[in-house]
Structures are given as C-alpha cells and as structure tokens.
C-alpha cells in the first residue's frame, strides 16, 4: 500500500457506504469449494468454462475432419455432424464466452478494480456459480442420453429442432432448453451482483469516470445481459411447452412422416424474434468486456494513456443501447416484413460508428507509444486486426441485398467466427496472460506463450480467412457432405482440407496453453505484485494473490483516473490510481 501523507487526506469525506460484513470461511470446503469469495468463484467459473470450451474445441475438430476429408471418417454420420455443430456453437457462445467474461473476469476484476472487498451479495454469487455448473452438467449429460444432444443448430429454430428427424429430438432438446433456463437463472443472480457492486461498492474517489474501461465494459455488458437473457428464457420455456405439452406457441400446422401433428398455427417467426432479441445483444455482451479489457491491455503495454477515454465510455454505452435495435438483421431471409429489413440495416450501419471510434482510439493509443510486445500486447494487437476484419464483413452482411445471397453460406460462418470467435478469444488469452500473475503470483512461461500466440493467431487466420472465399463461391454451411456440385470447384475441397489441418494444429496449440497454465502454477517465475507496472487498483493490493477481503485493513482511496502512464515529470512511467498527488490541487479550481 502507498503511504499517504496526512495532509492529503484532509478533505476526503468518510466512506459513504459502510464496510460490508465479510463472510469468513471456516473450513477448507467453504474456502475453496463452496466459497463466497469472488476471486475463488472467478477461478471456478473460468476453469469450468474452459473445460466445457475444450469439449467444444474437440467438436470443432470432428466437424473439420468431416468437412476436410468427407467420407474418410465413417463414425461421423450426418446426424452427429449436426449435433457437433449445435453443441459447438451453443457451448462456445454461451457456456464459454459469456461465462468466462462475466462470471470469470467479472468476478475477479470488478471488486478489485473498483476497490471493494468483495461482491455485495457474496452468497448469491456462490449460488450463481453452482447453478451455472449445474447447467453445464445438464448440457454435458445430453451427450449421454438416448438420441444424443440436439442437432437443431445453435439457434434451435423451431419447428425442425423439436420434430422427429432432427437429432436429439427425444431428450437432447429438452435437456438443452432446461440447461439454458438454469443458466439464465444462475446468470441473473450473478449479474445483479456485478451491477450492484459497481454501483454501490466503489471505494472513495472511484468516480464512474475514473473506472478502468474493463469495468465499464463488463458493467454495461451485464446490464445488457440482464435485459436480453429473459428473451432466451421466454423462448426456451415456450419451446419446452411446445415439445412437452403440445402447445403451439411456435409450432405451425404440419405433417410429419405422413402424419398430421398435434400442432397448429404457431409462429416459428415469433421464436426467431425472441431468440435474436437475445442473440444480437449477446454478441455485444461478449464484445463489450473484450473491448474494455483490450483497452486496458493496450494502454498498459504501450505505456500510454488510453486515447479518448470519454469517447470510449460513451461508445460502450452507445453500443449497449443500440445493440437492442439491430436484432432482425439476423432474419432478412426469414420472411418477415421487408421494410423491417431496411430499418435494421440502417441501425446495423449506425452501430458501426461507435465501434469504429473504439478501433481508432486503440490505434491512436498505440501511436507513438512505448510499445512493449509482451504476450498480452500481441494478443491485443491480434484482436484489433481480427475485429476489424470480422467487423467489415459484418457491414457487408448487415445490408439486405448482400446478405440475401450470402445467407447460409460459409461466408457467414467466417464472419461470425472472426468477429465473435477469434476476436474475443484473443482478448481472453491476452487477459489471462496479463492477470495470471495477479491470480497466482507467478508469470506464465514466456516461450510457451509466444508459441501459443503465433500458432493460434496465424492458425486461426489459416482456418477462417479462406472460408470467406468458400462462402463467396456459394458453399453452404451446415452441410455434412457437399458432394459434387457444379459451382464448387475441386480446389475448394483442397482448401477445405487445408483449413481442417490448420484447425487441428490450432487446437493442439491450446493444449500447450493449458499445460502452461498448470506448469506455471508451481514452476513459473515469481511475479511480484505489479509485474507490468500497471496503474489500476488490482495491482496495488497488499498481497499477491490478494487475500480474502482484498485490501488489508484500509480500503484504498483513489486520486486519479486509471491511465496515468508516462506522465511528464513523474518518477516512474506509471502512477497508480491510489497514489496521492504530490501537491493538492487548489480547492474549487477545475480545468
């Protein structure tokens, strides 16, 4: 902790919110398993999310094997292929990325970055994790039920997802919906915590405009998630009733296997509206924390204050609000009113403006910075490139006339993998390399990290860049075997094979990363409290890893914003947020 000269403390009001009564664990079980400490819960969330993410990674290998070498792997039949697709998408988007950014990074970073001792509702926080774990276990269980997991596509569109003929129609889809319902309940409990902690538990001096952008990103994303997840909840409950009790919310009148079904008159379009009212904000629920984290990584590792901090905050809030009015750009080919398409194309183009502002600001932060090409920085740079790449194809697809011919082609797959898969994952990796020393007290191995970075970065481009070309050729997505078609040349098959090999290599590189995580836990170089010379509060804790309660006796007091890097005249090239000013500013004079 920084020694505070007594004269500086004059004029600081007492804390407006009393100290919370911390829950003190009494046994090993309550300390590490049923823990109410946000830091432990964060690790639990992260490990669970990464474990289920590895399952999704393996599923992507299986898909790529089939796509790259059709006919070679007889154990992958069309049904299984659809199941792999569905579970891969669902796990990656919801069970890995959302859980990791909000449950993992949110839990670890929010209390530490705003100078709180813990989340405001620690018990609810614990509950949130255990419900999430239950949701994951139900999801995993679908692999072992008769009929296997659902193969309805990650969007679970009715009617096909609950009709016979769709894989997993027997039990898979039911458990999938139950798992989603559980996840949303668990997430809501956790999300309330993140929001109220940011609102109510900030330490003295931590005004909203002094918060690191990471907190801004996670906070805004959580608010969005709290409002958007109910749409998925409603859709899941209604579909569950359609499947189990024969209601016709979404199920139209139709004939199945020559038999008239019990359903009549339902609206599959209604499901799409509900799903995408959740689904599009979900993109930004993942992206906003990534935006926030990457801003902090760039600023710290370029030793320069973030360019346009205010603009960054406004952009985060603006994107959060706008993302609720773009959902139907996923539905141009759904048969909805075409005029809607025009409206949603316009909002889609508008949301690109604050997003572009952020990209420019990252680049201007780098401009003439003292760039340290550390591993977190490499990942942050890779993120910017990838995000621009995926964002630009998003602009194509946001326009109705371009989207219609490209719908359901590999171009769409390439787009969302770039923007929503590779880009956020780059930030996840960067963030893990950045904060691992704080969580464990040890650095991750540098050589393994660089190997991991380059293989992942170049490999991901080897997989997804060519996919755009396949999409432009018209190669459809979700096909088990494209076969011989007039418009797909033989070279496309070679490209597919190449992408599959690249995907396998990238996948194996992740094993190196996991090994590094485990190996460095005991063998890594000791990091000390603040190895990167960062300004934000989490690096200023008295102990590393931070002890229960984070701050020792006294909560830190914040005197400045989070980005005082390379301040002219300062002794070091960073000034921590809790370092008091050398001289007090004259009262009442604000520039």
């Amino acid at each position: 902790m920084v020694d505070v000269p007594s004269d500086v403390l004059v004029g600081i009001p007492p804390a407006e919110v009393g100290e919370v009564d911390l829950y003190h664990p009494r046994s090993w079980w309550t300390r590490y398993v049923f823990s109410q400490d946000a830091k432990v819960i964060a690790v639990q969330y992260s490990v669970t999310a990464m474990a289920i993410g590895m399952v999704a990674l393996v599923l992507s290998w299986l898909m790529r094997l089939q796509l790259g070498f059709p006919g070679t792997f007889s154990f992958i039949d069309p049904s299984q292929y659809l199941q792999f697709i569905t579970m891969h998408g669902m796990i990656m988007v919801i069970y890995l990325l959302t859980a990791l950014f909000l449950g993992g990074f949110g839990n670890y970073l929010i209390p530490l970055m705003v100078g709180a001792r813990d989340m405001v509702f620690p018990y609810a926080n614990m509950l949130s994790y255990w419900i999430y774990l239950l949701a994951v276990l139900v999801l995993v269980a679908t692999f072992f039920v008769p009929g296997g997991p659902t193969g309805g596509g990650w969007t679970l569109y009715p009617p096909q997802s609950i009709l016979s003929g769709s894989p997993g129609q027997e039990a898979g889809i039911i458990m999938m919906l139950l798992s989603l319902i559980l996840l949303i309940i668990g997430f809501t409990i956790g999300g309330l915590n993140y929001v109220v902690t940011v609102l109510q538990a900030r330490t003295r001096g931590m005004t909203l405009m002094r918060m690191p952008l990471t907190v801004w990103g996670i906070f805004t994303a959580t608010v969005m998630a709290l409002l958007a997840f109910p749409a998925l909840f409603v859709a899941s409950v209604m579909m569950l009733l359609d499947r189990l009790l024969g209601t016709s919310f979404f199920m139209p009148t139709l004939v199945e296997m020559g038999q008239q079904t019990k359903y009549s008159g339902g609206s599959p379009l209604l499901f799409q509206h509900l799903f995408w009212f959740f689904g599009h904000p979900e993109v930004y629920i993942v992206a906003l924390p990534a935006f926030g984290i990457v801003s902090d990584l760039i600023s710290t590792h370029a030793r320069k204050n973030i360019f346009g901090y205010r603009m960054m905050v406004w952009a985060i809030v603006g994107i959060g609000a706008l993302s609720f009015v773009v959902w139907a750009h996923h539905m141009y080919v759904s048969g909805m009113n075409p005029k809607f398409g025009f409206f949603f194309a316009t909002t889609t183009l508008i949301i690109a403006v604050p997003t572009a502002i952020k990209v420019y600001n990252w680049i201007l932060t780098l401009w003439r910075g003292d760039i340290h090409l550390t591993i977190p920085m490499l990942f942050a740079l890779a993120f910017i490139i990838t995000f621009v790449n995926g964002g630009l194809t998003g602009l194509f697809l946001g326009n109705v006339v371009v989207d219609v011919p490209l719908s359901d082609t590999m171009f769409v797959v390439a787009h969302f993998h770039m923007v929503m898969g590779v880009a956020p994952i780059m930030v996840v990796f960067g963030a893990i390399y950045h904060w691992y020393p704080k969580v464990t007290g040890r650095m991750l191995n540098e050589a393994l990290g660089r190997f991991h970075f380059w293989v992942t970065f170049l490999g991901a481009y080897a997989v997804f860049f060519p996919m755009h070309y396949l999409g432009l050729l018209g190669m459809p997505r979700r096909y088990h075997d494209i076969g011989e078609t007039a418009f797909v040349p033989a070279s496309a098959h070679d490209l597919n094979a190449f992408m599959s090999v690249a995907a396998l290599v990238v996948g194996f590189a992740q094993l190196v990363f996991v090994f590094n995580l485990i190996w460095s836990l005991s063998k890594g170089k000791e990091s000390g409290g603040n190895p990167w010379g960062a300004t934000t509060l989490e690096w200023q804790t008295p102990e590393t890893p931070p002890a229960h309660g984070n701050w020792g006796k006294e909560l830190p007091v914040v005197y400045r914003w989070a980005y005082d890097y390379s301040v002219p005249g300062a002794k070091r090239d960073f000034v921590p947020q809790n370092e008091p000013p050398t001289r007090l500013a004259p009262q009442g004079v604000h520039p």
Binding site: L227, V234, F249, K262, L274, V313
Partner: protein, 234 residues
C-alpha cells in the same frame, strides 16, 4: 415486439437520466486529487439490497414485457380463440390489492417503530397472497373443467403460462416474506426489520402492477392499446 421495445426504452431512459447525473463529460485526466470536490464519487445512499431489488425488478419486468410481446404477436394469427376470463380473477385481483395494502401498512408501521403493526401487516399480506395463489389455481381448475385445456388453443396456453409465471414470482416473494415474518414473530427489533419489510413491500407492489397489466392483457382491454402500438410501428 412493441411491448419489450417500449419497456427497454423506459429502462434506457432511466439509465440515461442516471448517467446524466454522473458527470460523464468530466475530463478525468485533468482531475487529479482527492474526491471531496468532485461530485458523483460515491455510491447512492440507498442500501445495496434495495438497488439490487430494483435491478431485479427490471429483469422481471423485461421477462413479462417479452411474454406480452409474444402474446400480442401470436394473437394476430388466425387460430387464436380468446378464452372467457373467469370471474374469480376479479376476486383474486381484489385480494392481491389487499395483500399489497397490508404490506404497505407493515412498512408504515415499521417506520413508526410499531412492532405489532409490522407483524400484523406481514401476516395479513402473506395470508392474502396465499389466498390469491389458491384463487388462481381455482381459476385454472374452472377453465380446465370448462374445456379450456392448455394445448387446445394458444390463448389458453398463454393464459396458463403467464399466470403461472406471475404466481411463481409471488411464491418466491412469499419465501422472503415468510423469513421476515418469522423474524418479526420472534421479536427481532423493528428497526432491524425495516429494510426487509420495505423490500417485500416494493416487490409486492411491483407484482401487483404486473398483475394489473396482465389482467388488462388477458381480458382484452389491452387489445386497443396493442392495436395502436402496431399502427405506430407499421
């Protein structure tokens, strides 16, 4: 989707108003120093649990707004046959109002430090809420006996689904109310109960409001309103 859009716009307006109080135009890079002289530094003076409940109510509100959106979109389709609303619902509505009023009474009593009044209000509120739930189940039974089965028509399905969701929320509230009542019964000092009583009351009023909106929807009063909304959006 007009209901949820309106609801989200309302939330956005509240968030925008709150943000406008937070000096978002500040230049933090110039504001080095202690915080006494910078507004917007600390948290609001409300207790965290009250803010937490407020946020939770926004989530619940969004859930019901989505149900209403789905309802109004689905009722457009030709197979929709509205079901007669059982008269019992009017009685239930009255009981729910009584329940809410009783909790308001308890809240007033808690502020006056009147322990007996608190206990009485909580008990009356709890009992009438249970009566409401039983009444809802009876209404279901009446509809079921009259042949309005869940899967027979989307109007029926929505009726059961929406009333069930509302009932489950009330049931959840009863758990919190029960805990508070037990504490009051055991003679915990009133000042220490005040917050819990206030939270329960807030939740109850909210669920009453939601119920009134749902009732307007289920009885068809909201049709005209929905028609206007649709007119505006198309």
């Amino acid at each position: 989707m007009s209901a949820i859009i309106l609801f989200t716009a309302g939330i956005a307006a509240i968030a925008g108003w709150w943000l406008s109080q937070q000096r978002l135009a500040a230049k933090p890079w110039l504001e080095e120093g202690a915080i006494g002289d910078f507004r917007g530094g600390g948290a609001s003076s409300l207790p965290a649990s009250k803010i937490g409940l407020g946020v939770f109510l926004a989530v619940v509100g969004s859930l019901f707004a989505l149900f209403i959106s789905a309802y109004s979109m689905r009722m457009e389709l030709i197979d929709w046959r509205s079901l007669p609303v059982p008269r019992l619902l009017w009685f239930n509505t009255g009981i729910l109002i009584v329940s809410s009023a009783a909790l308001q009474w308890a809240q007033v009593a808690a502020r006056r430090d009147d322990g007996d009044g608190v206990l009485l209000g909580l008990l009356a509120g709890g009992v009438s809420a249970v009566v409401f739930l039983i009444g809802q189940l009876l209404a279901w039974q009446q509809l079921n006996t009259a042949g309005y089965f869940l899967a027979a028509n989307p109007a029926n399905a929505f009726f059961y689904l929406i009333t069930a969701t509302h009932g489950l929320h009330l049931l959840g509230g009863l758990v919190a109310l029960g805990r508070t009542t037990v504490k009051a019964w055991r003679g915990v000092e009133t000042p220490r109960l005040r917050l819990s009583v206030e939270l329960c009351t807030m939740y109850w009023h909210f669920l009453l409001l939601v119920w009134l909106v749902l009732l307007a929807l289920l009885t068809g009063w909201a049709d005209d309103f929905a028609a206007i909304c649709r007119q505006l959006l198309t």
